[in-house]
């Protein structure tokens, strides 16, 4: 299957019943098998370090590791977001679990074993919803944290905390605060959501929801996009995109939107500040944004697209009613992933449906759609807000999509149409969770769910001809020595890590069932090798064994068909 969904709660915590909501995920570009997840999850032992979920095998299995200073015993941290930079260094931005609206930016240590993070930036009060992005350029780690900041000013304003050298600069790292908001706001300031998106060429987009009026029940909101073309450096950063009407910083791509604040709730979840942004890694001119508003009545998600660096924007290319928690990401094929959570049905039988849509043409044709979860929206009862999260997370790395969402954890295959793996003890026949003793029943709760979408090209058509040909030749040679000569035929940049493993696995295939490969289906073996190459490509973070769309001019720039191999 191209899609893997995993309940992240470890087996040893089968007895847990927390409301583990508001998830995030970070994938190490230098080694995509290293993935970190987070949610409102406390250290079960009540220690002072808040935990994160860690995986060393690409998200198939997870452990919980207490590493974030300032944890509490109820939810671990306050708002928390996490990312890896290209250097492989792990970063986090959180509201400390022991300190109200107290912002920390943290840098990770060793991944295995996970070690406690170091605070590299500290703002003790009045910061909300820090949202981190990180990248590596010219050997330095760039960290950009969107935040709703009320320090030293009467109103909370959409801002950015950023460091241009977060990995090696001496502590405290060289973070600076940049206020993005350039216009008069409502009496209480802007909405909490401020979302940066980074392109490797130094283009940084930031989206925020500017409140022009607010009466406690609804806001009147502008969706604003700022841009900087060189990592937010220079005397006037984030001034590259001014509004055509007032000439001020930040293009108001939608204005005067009515958005309900907190209620009416959606499936026990509060509403009012849903926002996501993503830039195409192959083309920094192409940027997508998604938000939710009540302009048409029900709380509705909107997706729009700009192809000229945020100057001009499409109308809605996708809308979803009764939905929130948008996640956007663009992969290396220019393919857009859209993750969202929607309430369907009528009370008391409403369901939270979490979907991933993939499109290469802004939904001009049918999108590839995967329902990841469809679970009861009324149970378990909410302990606090956010019930499932004020946000989710979707990332793209090369051709792959990685994401995380939170949902009711009833072990019922019907609730997970794309399949699911549980680590915690569960009886899917009777739909009950079981404690570590595998006997005692455990109440259902909210858990984080990881997913990984891995495109599988129809290899015998899409594998590069020179690779295919050479592989086929080698497939019909029996000598082990010659099999190692495969090395000559795989792209040099791939042929660095894991080749021995590839050959070993291939050998295993060849003697599987005591049959020599020539008696079986040679394509099956090639298919397995193709998958291995794909994994190697992923491991390396560069190099491609498969044909890229731009290498197929006969397709007119269209994405080659991608057929799940199943």
């Amino acid at each position: 299957m191209p899609l893997t969904v995993v309940n992240m709660t470890p087996q040893s915590l089968s007895g847990e019943q927390n409301q583990d909501s508001e998830p995030q995920i970070a994938v190490n570009p230098a080694n995509p098998r290293e993935i970190v997840g987070s949610a409102f999850t406390p250290d079960p032992a009540g220690g002072s370090l808040a935990p994160v979920y860690v995986s060393e095998d690409g998200g198939l299995t997870w452990a919980l590791a207490p590493i974030i200073p300032g944890g509490n015993s109820f939810t671990g941290t306050g708002d928390l977001t996490i990312r890896f930079a290209g250097s492989g260094t792990f970063y986090a931005a959180d509201l400390r679990g022991d300190g109200g609206l107290h912002l920390n930016v943290l840098r990770g240590g060793t991944f295995s074993p996970p070690s406690a993070m170091t605070v590299v930036y500290d703002r003790p009060s009045n910061v909300d919803q820090p949202y981190i992005q990180a990248a590596t350029s010219a050997g330095t780690d760039r960290v950009h944290v969107g935040a709703n900041d009320g320090n030293g000013i009467p109103k909370r304003q959409s801002s950015l905390e950023q460091s241009l050298d977060a990995r090696t600069a001496p502590l405290p790292d060289n973070f600076s605060t940049i206020v993005l908001e350039s216009r008069a706001t409502s009496g209480v300031g802007d909405a909490p959501s401020v979302r940066p998106a980074i392109h490797p060429n130094g283009t940084v987009y930031v989206a925020y929801l500017a409140w022009r009026a607010w009466n406690g029940i609804t806001s009147t909101t502008d969706v604003v996009i700022c841009r900087d073309d060189n990592w937010g450096t220079g005397a006037n950063p984030y001034n590259a995109l001014n509004d055509p009407l007032d000439g001020l910083r930040g293009n108001r791509i939608a204005a005067g939107l009515v958005i309900n604040w907190i209620s009416p709730t959606l499936g026990q979840e509060r509403i009012g500040s849903d926002l996501a942004i993503a830039v195409d890694p192959t083309n920094s001119d192409s940027v997508y944004v998604a938000w939710a508003d009540n302009a048409g009545g029900p709380y509705t998600l909107h997706v729009r697209h700009s192809t000229d660096r945020g100057v001009n924007w499409s109308g809605d290319v996708r809308t979803v009613t009764n939905a929130k928690n948008p996640g956007l990401a663009v992969n290396s094929d220019g393919r857009l992933g859209f993750l969202f959570q929607q309430v369907t049905g009528a009370a008391p039988n409403q369901r939270w449906v979490t979907s991933l849509e993939l499109t290469s043409n802004n939904w001009a044709g049918p999108a590839e759609t995967h329902v990841l979860a469809t679970v009861p929206a009324g149970t378990p009862g909410a302990t606090f807000w956010p019930y499932i999260g004020d946000y989710v997370c979707l990332l793209a790395l090369n051709t792959h999509f990685y994401g995380v969402f939170c949902a009711n954890n009833t072990p019922d295959n019907a609730n997970f149409p794309s399949g699911v793996r549980y680590q915690r003890n569960a009886d899917f026949a009777t739909h009950v969770l079981l404690n570590v003793n595998n006997i005692t029943q455990v109440p259902i709760s909210i858990d984080p769910f990881f997913f990984h979408y891995s495109p599988r090209y129809k290899w015998h058509k899409e594998l590069k001809p020179e690779i295919k040909e050479k592989l086929e030749i080698k497939e019909f040679k029996l000598e082990r020595k010659e099999k190692f000569e495969l090395k000559e035929n795989i792209k040099p940049e791939i042929d660095t890590k894991g080749l021995k493993e590839l050959i070993k696995d291939k050998d295993k295939d060849l003697v599987e069932g005591g049959k020599r490969f020539v008696e079986g289906d040679p394509f099956r073996h090639l298919g397995k090798i193709a998958e291995r190459l794909d994994q190697l490509e992923q491991d390396l973070g560069d190099g491609r064994a498969f044909i890229r769309p731009e290498e197929r001019p006969e397709l007119g720039g269209n994405i080659p068909k991608e057929e799940p191999t199943g």
Partner: protein, 244 residues
């Protein structure tokens, strides 16, 4: 011979205490933990003290990260005082101390049995001694504390005021008088666990000044205790001890 004082001291630094048997020395059952001479896979025979979620862990395996390699031999049974450093398919536990498997289990059980209560009482003592006012009282009114519509943050505490009639002053206050308690009425993650007074509720209230809150408040679960006689006597004892 196990001394109660040793058990108590080790216990105060541990969150997961168990009797276990070394299953494999120099090994690890978790990929994140490298096997060294200081590690061993240990089978948990009996859990003595643990967070709620691990109380049924008997029979499970842990990877012990020992303070020393000494004594980590196969089939060796011991009493392990540990803290959990990783929760995976199994657990990784960092050793605080190790004792011979208890031949006098009663001592261990006696020392360990009251540990949760001791930790709770320590927190209660801290909250009471730092409180500005401690009273037994009854809620006679609840009202929003701020006239403004709110702060436009999902973390808005949404302050309310509880009017409490003092039934018995324990630290400050006068009987029959009323006092005001500010409390966050929000269900947000930052505030949901703070006590929410109910109409007519009788309790022991430990009121504090916290940050920029405009009135006295009670934000910890230890600031609002049941008003039964046993708890009243306990609070009085803790107040006396904090003064002595």
């Amino acid at each position: 011979m196990i001394r109660g004082s040793d058990v108590s001291e080790y216990l105060s630094r541990s969150t997961f205490v168990f009797t276990g048997t070394v299953s494999q020395a120099g090994a690890s059952s978790l990929s994140q933990i490298e096997a060294t001479e200081h590690t061993a896979i240990v089978r948990v025979d009996e859990v003595h003290f643990a967070p709620e979620v691990l109380r049924q862990y008997a029979g499970g395996l842990v990877t012990l990260i020992g303070q020393t390699a000494e004594g980590l031999a196969g089939e060796q049974q011991a009493l392990f005082f540990t803290n959990v450093s990783l929760y995976g398919e199994t657990l990784a536990v960092q050793e605080v101390a190790r004792m011979h498997a208890p031949k006098e289990p009663d001592i261990v059980h006696r020392e360990i049995a009251g540990e949760s209560e001791r930790r709770d009482e320590m927190r209660l003592r801290e909250r009471i001694s730092s409180a500005e006012l401690v009273v037994r009282g009854e809620v006679v009114g609840l009202a929003p504390a701020e006239t403004e519509l709110g702060r436009g943050s999902e973390h808005d505490p949404n302050w309310w005021r509880a009017t409490i009639r003092v039934l018995e002053p324990l630290k400050g206050g006068s009987p029959g008088k009323t006092i005001e308690l500010w409390y966050p009425n929000s269900r947000d993650v930052q505030w949901y666990r703070s006590p929410k007074p109910l109409p007519g509720q009788q309790a022991i209230w430990a009121l504090h000044r916290e940050g920029d809150v405009k009135g006295l408040t009670a934000l910890s679960e230890f600031d609002v205790r049941p008003a039964d006689e046993i708890e009243v006597q306990r609070v009085k004892r803790l107040l006396r001890e904090s003064l002595s």
